[in-house]
Symmetry: C2
Subunit: 498 residues, 2 copies
């Protein structure tokens, strides 16, 4: 992708405009559920109690109108040249703008009383974090809950395209490494390639969502619950329609969600390969192997401990373990058990998984398994390099040597991640949170997980965090979701130099 | 340094033997204080109360004898070829062996009842950590306390030579970067160069210790207290002869110790340059500038906060702030104030400083300022590299470009440091410690600091840690002190392959 000398502001306006129009359309999809579940769907929220039909409709219209306005404000002859710079700006701004507008129905309906809370909930949705400020989820009208889960699904869709089709071309975070697998029709022409890749991946995303909804409904969920939880799963988001998250559902449903969380946390190009029967290529993928390996080891340790120490029923112990491990490593954040009350240091394993994250090219957030793998391999090689200083020893991944540039990029990513984690913890401490909660809020938002440790554990929520803290955590969600560099580069002087 | 094909075990035995003879000699230096401070110096500990003369003398003789035995056990014609491999092995083993023997007088005298505790205290001394298991320091006989402080001083002396003369040749942790400054007489002949460098640096170390002792005695300390605290300062160790550490001493003494902690945490080649009037070269040293900069900024923030929030007297606030900041960043661990009870998130600044560490080539432990600088510069460049993927942008330090090998090494160091930190916290959690204490014990020992957070804060000690935990923390002290790789490389298969 070229580096445009003059910033093409018009194309930025136009694309943001288009995104807002699409958001307006998606807001409308909540209306059927609003009508179906309400006794007086066309009543007006501000007059009596909490309704959601008019707030949703008005927000949809308002958002679309602003979108149309931006589209035309860009002028008649918008140049189509989209450079790296415009790419970075659009990606960062888009997430903020759709959250700004997506928060409106929560406030208009009166379900959420402060705009801060509504924005937090919405960006938490779009970034597929799943951190909530709602104290009584079941008291919120169904249309709004559907929109809340829909923000996850849209966010997950955006991330798939971003991580597999856009970020690699922007050169972010060594993501070039993960695009080789799905060949586009014209590899040297960027635009058609992104479009083609996006279509294929969205197809898989939609299909998996439909299959999961079907399986959840087979287990007794209605269409509304099925869709909402499938959205939350496939986006690795974590918003539920119940106050107790997934704990109240049947073992069958918990297992279904576990399987689909694993699928959602897997590189989507592997699903593509699987559909084409290329299982050999999947077996070669080291990240996937280690992703599964980590899940199995953590599950085994926790299951055995829960059986031995807590005398739990083996099946329950296994189910709670694998569900929690998968929910945290994939950064989904659904809950069936309060890991903070597990015996010994088991919760520490969960805490450690918060720093692992899903696979690259999945909807999962966090650092990602592949980065850990690269870093780990490079560190092991460092010992060999000490012993044989003359030898050239490149890191190999799935059999191929990895360029030093990518290793450097990954190392810088780690450093910046931990610096932000430290600063985040410090800032949250300044707001009067205790140490564990400060750590918990930071990693749970930066890693797009949702539940953390301390007072934002699996059975708590974020309502008690001070307003300024909620804005700060919203920023962390965005940083984490966009692989740090995409956002941070906007603050670099080199970026703005001509 | 060459990589010998056949391990020269004889030379290892011989050098360890020599070290034990030297240790025996140093044990004798505690005897005058034992005699002077005891009413019945030649009484025998096991019969009535705690005495230290005979335990110290017996330990000295036993240690020397074993040393002589090892020296001769090495055989008659020991080949003088000392390769990299022998270097790694000697450095790691030496620290363990001298701690094994140095712990004996504590147990023999009955001052410390378990060998675990005595070993912990001794390796804490030699690694200049300063973490103590003594509940009542003032109840321990003076001769033993002198030996305890002497372990710091010996350890500090060892570290200076190690970090400026030996490790650079072993290629450890990018330490090659810091040796260019003091030219030896024959740069291509290793042995004379190490000897010459070591002599120069020891001269500075001894001189600074004498000057500090003098200044402390001017402030009213007796020779015993003066020497012990000068040992603790110059080695950035932190053992005091008082239960309240430095809190009970006068402001003058606190300021003197502050200044000398800064000197001890500075690259000793800078002292050498200063003695030769080469202040221009000192001014060029970026690590020193940032070391001072970090101290000033942290002190300023804490001072102002203590004045404003706690209504403290400005001079007291400044003194407590700078003393604590310097004590922690240099990894000394002397205490005048309990930072865990500072208002707001001030303690978090101190916690952050625990991860910074002193300068390379000083007696300070931890990650070291220069590694942070390199990493930080490299991360900033990463943004530039994203914008200009074609440009070659090396990291520059003190004006000179730094090779990619060193950057890689430093990055691997960071990663391994944090992995060990995470594992350490996990292991200590398993032993039933709460989260903060688990974190505190790990970083305070791995960083060779002494006081941590949680229940090992500035006014606590390590006596309540389970025995197995003390052995584990002892290992962390060694790991941290020897820049990780020196020890870890012994566990690498490549190291033992012919």
């Amino acid at each position: 992708m070229p580096w445009s000398k003059k910033l093409n502001i018009e194309i930025i306006l136009r694309i943001i405009g288009i995104l807002l129009m699409i958001e307006g359309f998606f807001l409308l999809t909540a209306l059927p559920f609003s009508i179906y579940y309400s006794e007086d769907p066309f009543g007006w929220a501000l007059l009596d109690g909490v309704h959601d039909f008019w707030p949703l409709l008005l927000s949809a219209l308002f958002t679309s109108l602003i979108g149309i306005f931006l589209y035309f404000a860009a002028g008649k002859d918008v140049k189509k040249n989209l450079g790296k710079r415009e790419g970075y700006i659009i990606v960062s701004i888009a997430w903020i703008v759709i959250s700004v507008f997506g928060a409106i129905p929560f406030v208009l309906s009166g379900s959420v009383t402060s705009y801060t809370d509504a924005f937090f909930e919405t960006i938490s949705g779009f970034t597929t974090t799943g951190a909530s400020i709602l104290n009584n989820i079941e008291g919120v009208p169904k249309g709004l809950l559907f929109w809340r889960s829909m923000t996850h699904w849209i966010g997950g869709m955006g991330i798939i395209v971003l991580s597999l089709a856009i970020l690699p071309f922007l050169g972010i975070g060594g993501m070039q490494l993960f695009i080789a697998e799905v060949p586009g029709p014209t590899p040297d022409k960027l635009h058609p390639r992104i479009t083609a890749t996006a279509k294929r991946l969205w197809g898989i995303y939609v299909m998996l969502t439909i299959v999961e909804t079907g399986l959840l409904m087979l287990g007794g969920m209605n269409l509304f619950d099925g869709l909402c939880h499938a959205f939350g799963t496939m986006a690795t988001g974590g918003f539920s329609t119940r106050n107790t998250s997934i704990a109240g559902f049947s073992p069958y449903i918990q297992y279904v969600i576990t399987v689909f969380m694993i699928l959602a946390g897997t590189n989507f190009t592997l699903h593509y390969l699987a559909l084409h029967g290329k299982f050999k290529d999947i077996r070669k993928n080291e990240e996937f192997k280690y992703f599964i390996f980590i899940i199995l080891v953590a599950t085994l340790i926790i299951t055995v401990s829960l059986i031995v120490i807590d005398q739990m029923h083996p099946e329950t112990a296994f189910r709670d373990s694998i569900f929690t491990v998968v929910s945290i490593i994939t950064t989904t954040g659904f809950v069936t058990a309060d890991y903070l009350f597990w015996p010994g240091a088991l919760w520490f394993i969960i805490f450690g998984l918060m720093f692992v994250g899903g696979s690259a090219g999945s909807t999962g957030g966090g650092i990602k398994v592949v980065r850990h793998l690269l870093l780990f391999k490079n560190s092991l090689l460092e010992f060999k390099r000490q012993v044989h200083p003359q030898a050239v020893l490149p890191v190999r991944m799935s059999g191929k040597p990895v360029s030093q540039d990518i290793i450097f990029n990954v190392l810088a990513f780690f450093l910046i991640y931990f610096i932000i984690f430290a600063i985040g913890t410090f800032v949250m401490s300044l707001m009067g949170l205790d140490f564990e909660t400060a750590i918990g809020t930071t990693i749970a938002t930066l890693g797009n997980i949702g539940p953390g440790i301390g007072h934002v554990g699996p059975v708590d929520n974020y309502s008690a965090i001070p307003a300024i803290g909620k804005w700060f955590l919203s920023f962390l969600m965005l940083l984490g979701r966009l692989e740090l560099f995409t956002v941070l580069i906007l603050f670099s002087p080199a970026f703005w130099k001509r």
